[in-house]
Amino acid sequence: MNLALRLALRDLRRGGRGLALLALCLFLGTAALAGIASLSAAMLAGLEADGRRILGGDLELRVSQRRATPAERYAMARLGPGSETVTMRTMARGTSGEPVLVSLKAVDAAWPLVGRYVQAAGAAAPRPGRDQAAVATVLADRLGLKVGDPLRLGAATLRVSGIVADEPDQLGEGFALGPRVLVSADTLDRAGLVQPGSLYEVRYHLILPRGADGKAAGERWVARFRDAGWSATPAEEAGRGLRRGIGQLGQFLLLMGLAALAVAGVGVGSGVAAYLAAKTRTIAVLKVLGARAGFVAGVFLAQLAVVAGAGTLAGLALGAAVPWIVAAVAGDALPIVPRLALYPRPLLLAAALSVIAALAFSLPALARARAVPAAAMLRDALAPAERSVRVTLAVVGLAALLVALAIWTANDRGLAASFAGATAALLGVLWLLGIGVRRTVARLPHSRRPLIRLAVANLHRPGAQTDRLVVALGLGFSLFAALAAIDTSLSAAIEQTAPTKAPRFFAIDLQPDDYPAFARAVRRVSPGARIEATPSLRGSVVALNGRRVADMKDLPPGAWVLRGDRTVTWAPTVPPRNEVVAGRWWPRDYRGPPLVSIEDRAAEALGLKIGDRVTVSVLGVDVDARVAALRRIDWGGLGLNFAIVFSPGLIEEAPHALLAGVYSAGGRDGVVARSVAAAVPSATMIRVGDVIGRLGEVLAQVALAVRVAAGATVAAGIAVLAGAVAASGRARRADAVVLRLVGATRAQLLGAQAIEYLLLSAVIAAIAAAAGLGAAWYAVVQVFELPFRPDGWAVAGTLLASAAVTVAVGVAGSLPVLRVRPAQALRDA
């Protein structure tokens, strides 16, 4: 074995305790990165492995507001056996009469093609038959339903035949606003829920011959029926939205993990510097005995490699186990079952990032150790303080490599680059502030109280790590403060906007003939209610200036208008909350060739200008329209808004329903819903409060995940604090001995420590408040384009809790100082 390695291991046997901070910080940083990346990979793998089941077949063909034509059915049958499901939103009522928005799914006898439909024990039939319905547990609980109870859907009355326990392809359908009600296809037809213009989707799931390419088959289908509004999803792309969501959240959390690694790096730097400083005499002895500087650096580099390797491996082990841990702890709360396996790529990435960070943050201390002269054995000779250009270049190079690797491996490189830039900028600012705090504290007038004087001196004395602590704890605190500010700002925006500007309900699937009855039903129980009704139908943009969307290889960013079906309308005048920003609106009585108005940002994303042509497929018919006006929409009011608005005329001939926003008095929601349900059973009422609540639940889950990731940063910061306390232990004990000699009590010693950490926490909290609120302002105002209304108490509470933890860790770490016995210490000195 190499002599440097032999000596390194020999020295580590008894002298490695000082590297505990290095190991702990790398463990935390690596575990955060490896855990987040492994969980994300396991979720995506779970989605992929379960793709057929989630999709409900090898290929899904989907169309809106119509069923397949005989010709299409014939073509489908040639692809393979299939099943048809219809999904729509409607209102369900139990015996109490309370209407509840539900997600209705009608299935044929062949469903499910893949997986098994399971009901809870006690079902009256294995699956709902004619005039029967199976309901989700949450709906049964809400309406107090049990098997055999009546359930009204629109005008039809069904019987509950079972409680849904497992619906194999539910996930593939994406986000649902209401709980599931499952009926048979003929029940749907008999209930008369599907009316002209009703918003419903029809899915055809197909089992393809073994070895068939689902993606190619789907593309061929869409190309063959290119103007019929079909979209196709192969099994490998099942849960596309969920996949995108998991990918993006995983990416964001990974970047948070990178922030944790940056803080851990500060700890690595502190730990290695403290360790090597304590080894000055050993280094000098080795040099006196004939060791070259490079050899000495090799000995300690080997030690760091061994300890860093152990910390990294332990972090990788924990990170690799995260999918198992999360599945065991929160399995039911996860949208998909993670595929439990080892994922080498995320582990390798985490290991590479950790090793680079460890090296980058250790190099300056190693360089100083290398330069320790042999004469340090005789006196406290310090290593040359001047910074080596080579070391600085190496550190900068490693940092650049770290950032480049993080960006290169990211799915969204733009986001990764922005985040890395923002984190680097924040770290830089915190570093400067830390230096500033240290220098400012040193210039403060001295207190007349000795304990306060001691506490303040501890913040700027030689060897004090105030600047590093400001960076390490400041980043975590800032993240928490920013999250609290963003969270409460979004909540405030929703809560303060909804009651004043947003409608209480949206009514969908309202037949034009039913509108007078609907309006009467609303106004009977809420006389002052305002109703905004507008025709609505589904359509998909199929061509821009004659160029087929299906032929476009890459859709431009922000081209959400081109994805799937959109609800479109027509209007004689500019809709409320809309402002024409380009072109001219058509005359009120316009009856000429179709014109269209597009939302300005969507138009910009699509590159559309006034006079361009947009072709929208409505119920299988292409409507070709010229762009007459671009509108800016105030989306904040949550009212009825449409990206695509046609001029009246030709499009009015298409079967359509009405969409209505109901601005009724608060506190009357139940009464209004019941009144409408009784008068117009086919109308579906969506309570805005419920939608916000459902979105809030999703946001809360995302916020929790983000907080857990931010927690890793704070944990790394606390490890740095603990390391700093340990590193200053010798000086603190010396102070304590002197103070005890001159009559200080233990309580006074403890008080001095508490004052020091209170001051430190206060400074860091103040900096974090500024940095966190700044970052939150950017996110809320610049990204979400909402007013910045953070809850000051929530932010302050978050920072107070963080500060309390800091004080507790600092004081707890200083407790050994209280046990110092002056006589013993002086004897040992």
Binding site: N2, R14, V285, L286, K287, L289, G290, L378
Partner: protein, 248 residues
Amino acid sequence: MPRGQAGPPARNARIVTSSSPAATTVIDARNVRLTYGTGDAAVHVLRDVSLSVLAAETVALLGPSGSGKSSLMAVLSGLERATAGRVLVAGLDFGTLTEDALAVARRGRVGVVLQAFHLLPTMTALENVAVPLELAGAPDPWGRAEAELAAVGLSHRLHHYPSQLSGGEQQRTAVARALAPAPALLFADEPTGNLDAATGAVVADLLFDRAARAGATLFLITHDEELARRCGRVVRLADGRIVSDQVA
């Protein structure tokens, strides 16, 4: 060449041979100056010190605190670089060597024993003594280290860590470590300063005995006149200058 093994002195080192084959000069210092700091803050620690020491001589360096004794030893042993003057040690011009070359030059040429022992706290007595042999690439470092510790009476303490040894035992280990590579020169800076009188006497006997047996030059820094009288030559230093140089 493998790292840690002894190698030739640096290319720019000047090899100087003694003019007299009968009495080899192992230290030849001429007009050595050592100054810390610059300008008004300059502290002149050594002022034009010139000194020659022959092989196998025993030299005591006496002087009050702050007279420059330890600094002179540091310069002569290559731990410190002189500000001016020439230092030839065992044929090598220390002034022309880099830090690394000085480290290599010390291997097998210079042994150092200090008042505060300076053992590696994380290594056993045996390992401490083996380290310079390993660094020099010497054959059988463990056997030689064991023999050296036996010679200082520590066969029973081979696997003890410094914290498990008494002060006298630690210093004996330091002596064994310094002498293990058979250096031509042994520097000892207040080797008994941290020891009680009885233990100090034992360590002093050991130093003189082991140096004599090894044929090494002993350069002893001390405050102790009695100890100094055991040396063949006594050099006195005051305020950075040699004020007397007497052969016993």
